[in-house]
């Protein structure tokens, strides 16, 4: 079931030469698309460090969209191929951690493809809405050290969750 009023928060990485200009073009052309993606401009998709994706997911993002130039059209000639390689290995590691690989998407968009950038964004938001919130580590607050004397730290779980009744 998809909870329809769930508004996903998505972090988008763009490359300065192609996909960022595609988003600018979508702007100048007043194309309307889903507002859930917040963009970060890198010089190249090759600059994307998997740490950024892990950081975004662990800090509350429900999905991450990586965009760059089409293979062969990279301003730095071939660096988007490295982005593709990292993306493919990262997705496998995320699967191992129970995160649906569809939460991280790679989209190539050239500077002339404003419309494509807008439609891919909206499509991705719908995909994430279907997957539902990720809510990574938000409720436990585990990142902040527990203050002294916090007895019932939410970390310690009540036994009932796994204890079986002893047959009479």
């Amino acid at each position: 079931m998809t909870d329809h009023n769930f508004e996903p928060t998505i972090i988008g990485f763009t490359c300065n030469w192609c996909s960022y200009r595609a988003s600018d073009l979508a702007g100048t052309a007043r194309m309307k698309y889903a507002p859930n993606v917040r963009l970060i401009r890198l010089m190249c998709s090759g600059r994307l460090d998997p740490t950024f994706v892990l950081r975004a997911l662990s800090e509350g993002a429900d999905g991450v969209m990586i965009t760059g130039c089409h293979p062969g059209e990279c301003h730095y000639i071939e660096q988007n191929y490295k982005a593709l390689r990292r993306f493919l290995l990262l997705r496998r590691v995320l699967t191992g951690l129970g995160i649906e690989p569809e939460r991280v998407k790679l989209v190539w968009a050239s500077a002339a493809e404003g419309a494509r950038f807008a439609s891919e964004t909206t499509a991705f938001v719908e995909e994430i809405r279907k997957l539902g919130p990720l809510n990574w580590g938000k409720d436990e607050g585990e990142r902040r050290k527990d203050e002294e004397g916090n007895k019932n730290s939410s970390f310690i779980i009540q036994p009932s969750s796994f204890e079986k009744e002893v047959p009479a």
Binding site: P50, T51, R85, R86, G96, W136, S161, K164, P167
Partner: protein, 332 residues
């Protein structure tokens, strides 16, 4: 470093760990005598008899040096971590378990219910009535308690404030010896403790720095498991032979003990200085040097690493950004 007359107190405790770190301390051979000579060992469960209430009775801050190894798995570990923190001046995260969760941290890959189920229901466990441990149980003598499990295993620094870290699984004996000398000098006022939160007993580069093997420009056509490679070239970098060696991203300090003898580094010394997520460093290192440009071709090469999550987070899962599997987090 105020010490009232007699020798400074020393404590060592083991939470969710395997005891290897204790053995590593013993493994410093005669150096252990220096410990005894310079320190008054007040609390060391594996080596001497001492009770928790003895520690609770001590004044706060009276223990100079505590080497705390092991991750925080249950409420007993947490209690002791906080207790020893209150009682010690220098609290050291000793060994990979305390620093980043290590092998016990891999339990974070599954929800805690499955862990208990697995422990009491494997093929080798004869448990027809499916009896599980009870948190408390009444016996004539009174009510018995056993520690309650935490949802996920946490490294020490997520529970208490840590003064410095000593990575390694276990830390190399020569590094332990060096740290003991350092603390002794500090006690004598001849040396200064490194700034709070710094890593001691390890290098400031990565394993490749100390690895004897020859290294060239990397371009990998396929990943293989070490046993699938007939003769492993004794001199050439293992990664270049297609073996996923974690050396490039693992902190130096162990003199590249494993790669030197032809075993790939599996990353027990944890991430290099200032690295936010150890796994991410390996993901980007391995994938950037793959020699393929199409999704199919890249996927074919990546299939050479059967368990990528385990490969990149073997020691560092609990200390990583995501820390655990999503199902583990979901347990209420």
């Amino acid at each position: 470093m105020t010490v009232n007359g007699s020798k400074p107190k020393f404590a060592m405790y083991w939470a969710a760990s395997c005891g290897g770190c204790e053995i590593a301390v013993l493994n410093t051979h005669e150096k252990i005598l220096d410990v005894d000579a310079n320190f008054d060992v007040v609390f060391w469960p594996v080596a001497m008899d001492a009770k928790y209430k003895d520690v609770e009775a001590m004044e706060d801050g009276s223990i100079l040096l505590t080497l705390f190894n092991g991750g925080i798995r249950n409420d007993e570990n947490e209690h002791l971590a906080k207790l020893l923190r209150r009682k010690s001046q220098i609290m050291v995260s000793f060994g990979s378990c305390a620093c980043e969760g290590c092998i016990p941290g891999l339990a974070n890959l599954s929800p805690v219910g499955d862990i208990v189920h697995a422990a009491y229901n494997t093929i080798t466990t004869d448990n027809p009535n499916e009896i599980y441990p009870r948190i408390s149980y009444d016996v004539p003598e009174g009510e018995l308690h056993i520690p309650k499990l935490a949802k996920v295993l946490r490294p020490l620094d997520l529970v208490v404030d840590v003064d410095c870290y000593m990575p390694g699984c276990p830390p190399e004996s020569h590094q332990i010896a060096a740290v003991i000398d350092l603390v002794i000098k500090v006690v004598k006022g001849e040396a200064e403790l490194p700034p709070k939160g710094s890593v001691i007993g390890a290098g400031d580069s990565t394993v490749c720095d100390e690895c004897p093997r020859a290294r060239n420009v990397k371009s990998i056509k396929e990943f293989k498991r070490i046993q699938d490679i007939a003769p492993v070239d004794p001199d050439l970098c293992l990664l270049e032979q297609g073996i996923p060696c974690n050396g490039p991203a693992t902190r130096s300090g162990c003199n590249a003990r494993c790669p030197a003898v032809g075993a790939q580094c599996i990353g027990c010394y944890g991430p290099a200085e200032g690295v936010m997520d150890y796994g991410a460093r390996l993901i980007t290192a391995f994938s950037s040097v793959i020699d393929a440009n199409t999704t199919e071709e890249i996927d074919r090469i990546l299939d050479g690493i059967p368990d990528p999550t385990g490969q990149v987070y073997r020691f560092n899962l609990a200390g990583s950004l995501l820390k655990a599997n999503r199902d583990a987090w979901k347990v209420k």
